[in-house]
């Protein structure tokens, strides 16, 4: 073999080794710190749409009015993916410091969120400034994991014009199940339905909460099969299968199928969060009303859903992150957000800002619900519960399975 050939062969070998090396090199630049040197913090949150991005950016820009040096970058996947992606994001390179969470998901993100009690103490934060049910929702294992920015009780939106047209009196700040069902029946004719329903478990849970029942027991363990909760879910299924005042949702529907049914006038009522008020008001060409979630007694018992800012456990500078969070949840910031984006603020003193420009009945309903509110409490396995409810709920609404069977199946599948 000539020298030339040998050299070429060596060169080929070299190229091959180089290629293999390049791959490992690609892999090499992995480890990274948490906070950038210039004090820029990164926040990982759901960014489903431009509207979401605008919301997060306005939190930051409003906070900058108080702390001009504050710099926060925003990144994240859409809402549905966020709950799993956040875990991989934290275990990957260059993890973010600030996370957002719904109170409902705080349990699920327990392993990721730093307990804030020490920071709350050292920064002299008065927790009574915040909605108690929301703080309760953000508490996992006895420690607060996030500072809430909103506290939004699920409400019943209704089409006031449809009520009037059907000769009904629109509901006030009390609403019994009996009345609700009779109204819904009167509003149902042909393609028009009294109510629109989305798949998933949060709305059925709000329905149960209105009567004071929950699928999670006091210790925070999953308890979907307790008979009170099962009865509530069954009565919710019955709205479709027995009373036939709503269409059964399809498993693959997202919540905006039901939202569109409401705003287009195809369904006269919808259970949703008050954060949708602005969107609905704009989309609907009828007079929209807001009332409480119907309960057996007719009295309000709200289920608050809301979100807040937390700190990642592996954040290298929790103090800076906490200061940033405080800056984003001051009363002026929340008032501004309530006015511009329609969130119901987590600070009671900022709630009046939400009521501005909305009907007094809506404000009264929200006040009544907040006065007697429980947080939407969940378990670490809630993602699975939610998925299973989307799959199985369809059969419940269609009357093919009872709530008892479905809750039993879900409880067993989740296996707690």
């Amino acid at each position: 073999m000539t020298r030339n050939n040998r050299r070429r062969r060596a060169a080929t070998l070299g190229t091959a080794v180089l290629m293999a090396g390049a791959m490992t090199a690609l892999a090499g630049c992995s480890s990274g710190g948490s906070a950038a040197a210039d004090g820029t913090l990164s926040m990982y949150t759901w960014v489903s749409s431009q509207s979401d991005r605008d919301q997060w950016e306005s939190f930051v820009s409003l906070a900058q009015k108080e702390d001009p040096d504050l710099k926060i970058t925003i990144d994240g996947p859409n809402f549905n993916d966020y709950w799993t992606k956040v875990k991989t994001r934290l275990s990957g390179s260059n993890p973010p410091c600030i996370l957002t969470t719904q109170a409902a998901r705080a349990q699920e993100l327990e392993g990721l969120l730093l307990p804030l009690d020490d920071l709350i103490k050292s920064n002299d934060v008065d927790t009574s400034d915040y909605d108690a049910s929301m703080l309760d929702g953000m508490t996992v294992d006895g420690t607060i994991r996030a500072i809430p920015y909103d506290a939004e009780p699920i409400v019943l939106f209704y089409n006031a014009d449809a009520f009037t047209a059907a000769g009904l009196t629109p509901p006030g700040a009390t609403y019994t199940r009996e009345q609700f069902i009779s109204d819904a029946k009167a509003l149902t004719s042909g393609d028009k339905k009294g109510l629109a329903i989305a798949p998933g478990i949060s709305i059925p849970t709000a329905w149960a909460t209105a009567d004071g029942y929950s699928g999670v027991d006091e210790d925070g363990t999953l308890d979907l099969t307790n008979s009170d909760f099962v009865d509530e879910i069954q009565s919710f299924f019955d709205l479709v299968s027995v009373d036939q005042v709503a269409n059964a949702p399809e498993a693959a529907d997202s919540s905006d199928v039901s939202q569109a049914a409401f705003t287009s006038g195809d369904a006269a009522m919808l259970l949703e969060g008050p954060w949708m008020y602005g969107t609905f008001d704009e989309a609907a060409d009828f007079t929209m009303g807001v009332t409480i979630v119907p309960s057996t007694s007719g009295e309000a018992h709200g289920m608050t859903q809301g979100s807040g800012f937390g700190i990642a456990k592996n954040c290298s500078d929790p103090d800076a992150a906490f200061k940033a969070i405080l800056a984003m949840t001051t009363t002026p910031v929340l008032e501004a957000q309530a006015q511009s984006r329609g969130i119901v603020p987590s600070r009671p003193e900022a709630v009046p800002a939400w009521a501005e420009g909305k009907s007094p009945e809506a404000a009264a309903a929200v006040d009544a619900l907040l006065e007697n509110a429980s947080a939407y409490i969940t378990t670490p396995t809630w993602n699975q519960v939610e998925t299973l409810m989307s799959q199985y709920g369809v059969e419940g609404y269609r009357g093919e399975k009872t709530a008892d069977e479905i809750m039993d199946t879900i409880q067993n599948s989740v296996g707690e």
């Binding site: 070429r8 062969r9 690609l26 996947p77 549905n80 997202s254 919540s255």
Partner: protein, 294 residues
């Protein structure tokens, strides 16, 4: 009918013309029949396109029509701007082209070794490669994801491209073709003092442009349409490929079916162009390899 002409050869001439005409009519009738079937078959695409042009509130209708009360081309521009669709298509092409290139390089080099070189355990090693042909990729996604995560490659182009460029299929396909080429050419070149790499490059590969293009097209399509892996390994919209982008779109715009169909149409168009341009390679690829379906 054919037997007529065979058994009575003398009368062929006189009977030929009506028979021919009859055959022609039959052929056209047959063609018309398959055209109808093909039309029904492609109907979902047609419906997709027409739905994309409708106003949102006319998507569901008890008496459906192709064209709504107005033709809304702006649905396409709306879909394009609501999510960064141009970005998705760029990502799709970027990942698919690099992925196809890497797959080809790997396949050609390995196939050369397996078909032209002698070394220990060659046949056993090749058998191992062949065995993995029937391995469902889904079995590997969990460990691959953990590896990518540990390497800090989650949410990078590298994670989309690299892990699936080493499947045994390319090596297998190229080796089959290497084996069909007689050794004489290369021996001549080697005796003339050309290196092995040079022989591979300028003697072997020019004879293999057809299988190479087949491999390229199929790797491209495989990457372009891949969904499960990007769903797992990509977190940010900026890196989403077309199917992932489309599914993000559905997550956010669940009811805006006309916009969603506009987005779906946009997602389908590059594939249609590929079919139009490369149908020969595609047909050949499927006929020879038949693997693209996986």
């Amino acid at each position: 009918m054919t037997s007529d002409t065979v058994t009575r050869p003398r009368r062929v001439k006189t009977r030929m013309r009506p028979a021919q005409r009859r055959t022609a009519v039959k052929t056209w009738a047959n063609t018309a029949a398959i055209a109808v079937v093909a039309l029904v078959f492609t109907f979902p695409f047609i419906w997709m396109f027409f739905t994309a042009l409708k106003p949102e509130d006319e998507v569901f209708s008890s008496s459906p029509t192709f064209v709504g009360s107005e033709v809304r081309w702006q649905n396409f521009s709306d879909a394009w701007t609501l999510v960064p669709f141009g970005r998705f298509i760029f990502n799709g092409f970027f990942v698919s082209i690099l992925g196809a290139l890497l797959s080809i390089i790997v396949a050609v080099l390995s196939a050369y070794a397996f078909s032209r070189l002698r070394f220990k355990f060659r046949d056993r090693l090749f058998l191992l490669y062949v065995l993995t042909l029937v391995l469902p990729q889904e079995v590997l996604v969990v460990p691959l994801f953990i590896m990518m995560n540990k390497l800090g490659l989650v949410d990078t182009y590298a994670a989309l491209i690299v892990p699936f460029a080493f499947t045994a299929f390319g090596t297998f396909l190229m080796r089959q073709f290497f084996l069909t080429i007689p050794l004489e050419y290369e021996e001549a070149a080697l005796i003339d003092g050309a290196s092995r790499f040079r022989t591979l490059w300028s003697v072997l590969l020019p004879q293999l442009t057809a299988p190479l293009s087949v491999l390229a097209v199929f790797s491209f399509i495989g990457y372009y349409n891949s969904y499960l892996w990007p769903l797992i390994v990509i977190n940010s919209q900026d890196l989403a490929t077309v199917p992932l982008g489309l599914s993000m779109f559905t997550g956010e715009r669940g009811t805006q079916w006309s916009l969603m169909m506009a987005a779906a149409t946009l997602a389908v168009i590059p594939s249609l162009i590929i079919v139009a341009l490369l149908q020969r390679q595609l047909i050949k690829g499927v006929a020879l390899g038949g693997f693209g379906g996986r």
